[in-house]
């Protein structure tokens, strides 16, 4: 398919990338391209300049910050997450979920940064990263800032990464005994999510985050509070989640009605919490 004409640059450093993004109207970062190229084919996006991040090796590393957070570069692919010993040790749910994204070819190219910056409400990583209380490092021309997951996702296809800025790293706390869960319904195995939920159970309590039901991931705070008493038996979790769907106003589309999504959100939340509880250590 013939794309609209576009200019291309491949910066060698993060500084260069940011100055290109800031210096050219209609410039857009190109990570793995597994979403962007398709929306360009559909003419749903028409960037004038593509700033290819391929050579930014700093963004391809997985490691730990000085304060012990697991830090994943924005250009780390899903395949890299799946094979990472750091992820396996510190927060294995990231690899477990990444392994269910699309197919081998897409996982070889698709990136963590792309997944979250596209901010499609059906994407896998946004609800998970909100549940894990992730921190996002955003680089601008003048400075660098860190925002929490609650502040990162602003709307459909909209994040805290502004014009002329670049997401460089995503950091999550290591599990430290917390249990994580992820559950939902997809269109076909490893397909698009119709609804999903991510949960984490730790000493600090329970976090439950719903995907696909609103423009951004939704914290199920009322459910979290009801679970704070500590009884995470199946009966207790089911009872606590009852009525959760009624608090939501999810969209209807070809894959499911809003009513069906309300039901799925409730079921997914229960399953994610039970999975997280069963994995909690200590």
């Amino acid at each position: 398919m013939l794309l609209r004409e576009v200019e291309y640059a491949r910066p060698a450093t993060v500084e260069e990338a940011v100055s290109l993004l800031a210096g050219y109207d209609g410039a857009r970062a190109l990570a793995g391209g597994q979403t962007l190229l398709n929306v360009m084919k559909a003419r749903a996006a028409a960037p004038d300049v593509l700033v290819d991040l391929a050579d930014l090796d700093d963004l391809r590393t997985i490691g730990f910050t000085a304060d012990g957070l697991l830090e994943v570069g924005a250009m780390v692919t899903y395949t890299q997450l799946v094979g990472s010993s750091e992820v396996e040790v510190a927060r294995p749910i990231l690899a477990e979920v990444a392994e269910t994204i699309a197919d081998v070819q897409v996982r070889n190219r698709g990136t963590v940064g792309g997944n979250v910056c596209v901010a499609d409400p059906t994407n896998h990583l946004p609800p998970l990263l909100v549940a894990l209380d992730a921190r996002f490092t955003i680089r601008g021309q003048e400075s660098e800032r860190t925002v929490s997951a609650d502040e990162f996702f602003l709307g459909v296809y909209l994040t805290a990464v502004g014009e002329g800025e670049l997401l460089t790293k995503v950091a999550v706390p290591p599990s430290s005994g917390a249990g994580d869960g992820f559950s939902g319904l997809t269109v076909g195995k490893h397909g698009t999510y119709v609804a999903n939920a991510a949960a984490t159970v730790s000493d600090a309590g329970v976090r439950v985050v719903l995907g696909c039901v609103d423009a951004v991931p939704v914290r199920a705070t009322a459910l979290e509070e009801r679970l704070a008493a500590g009884d995470l038996s199946e009966d207790a979790v089911r009872a606590a989640a009852e009525g959760l769907g009624e608090t939501l106003d999810p969209p209807s589309d070809a894959h499911g009605s809003g009513e069906f999504r309300r039901h799925l959100a409730e079921v997914s939340a229960v399953r994610a919490v039970l999975q997280a509880a069963s994995r909690r250590k200590g």
Partner: protein, 159 residues
């Protein structure tokens, strides 16, 4: 710092040979392979990244060449289905496809071969589950999956 441009001279190690050519930035890798270089073994099935008929190896890993710009492959090693058997003698995987009748119309075959050969490279004796997961991104619209899976398993010596 190189300014953005609507074209770029790219250098690719293609099927073991060094290729250097100027390409428009908007050209997809699959069109570079088929139209600029005449390597029509790589098929275009859906053009939307779903079918996997355009699968090639980029630095040894299977990727969909309709979801990659040719300029993104600058500096990379690319292998197409033509590169599997450069001297014309079929690989054990290709022979197995023949023996197991692992193709009906044949349109998906190049993509299937590229995904399966990448699997066998990293996992020489895959289980049936491994094979099915590795071929998840490749659609056979004749729905001839059973023989395709059999052919890959046989190559790995599991059947």
């Amino acid at each position: 710092m190189a300014a953005p441009a609507t074209s770029r001279v790219i250098a690719v190690e293609l099927n073991g040979e060094q290729v250097e050519l100027e390409v428009p930035a908007r050209r997809l890798l699959v069109h570079f392979l088929r139209d600029d270089l005449g390597l029509t073994g790589t098929h275009i099935g859906c053009d939307t990244g779903n079918c996997g008929a355009c699968t090639v190896h980029l630095n040894g890993e299977p990727v969909k060449s309709c979801m990659l710009l040719a300029v993104q492959a600058d500096g990379a090693r690319v292998t197409t289905v033509e590169g599997l058997a450069p001297d014309g003698e079929l690989t054990p995987l290709q022979t197995s496809f023949n023996e197991h009748h692992a193709l009906q119309c044949g349109y998906c075959t190049p993509g299937m071969l590229m995904s399966a050969s990448a699997l066998l490279e990293r996992n020489p004796r895959p289980s049936e589950e491994d094979v099915r997961l590795a071929l998840q991104g490749n659609i056979c619209r004749c729905t001839g999956y059973v023989n395709i899976v059999e052919a890959v398993l046989a190559t790995g010596g599991s059947r």
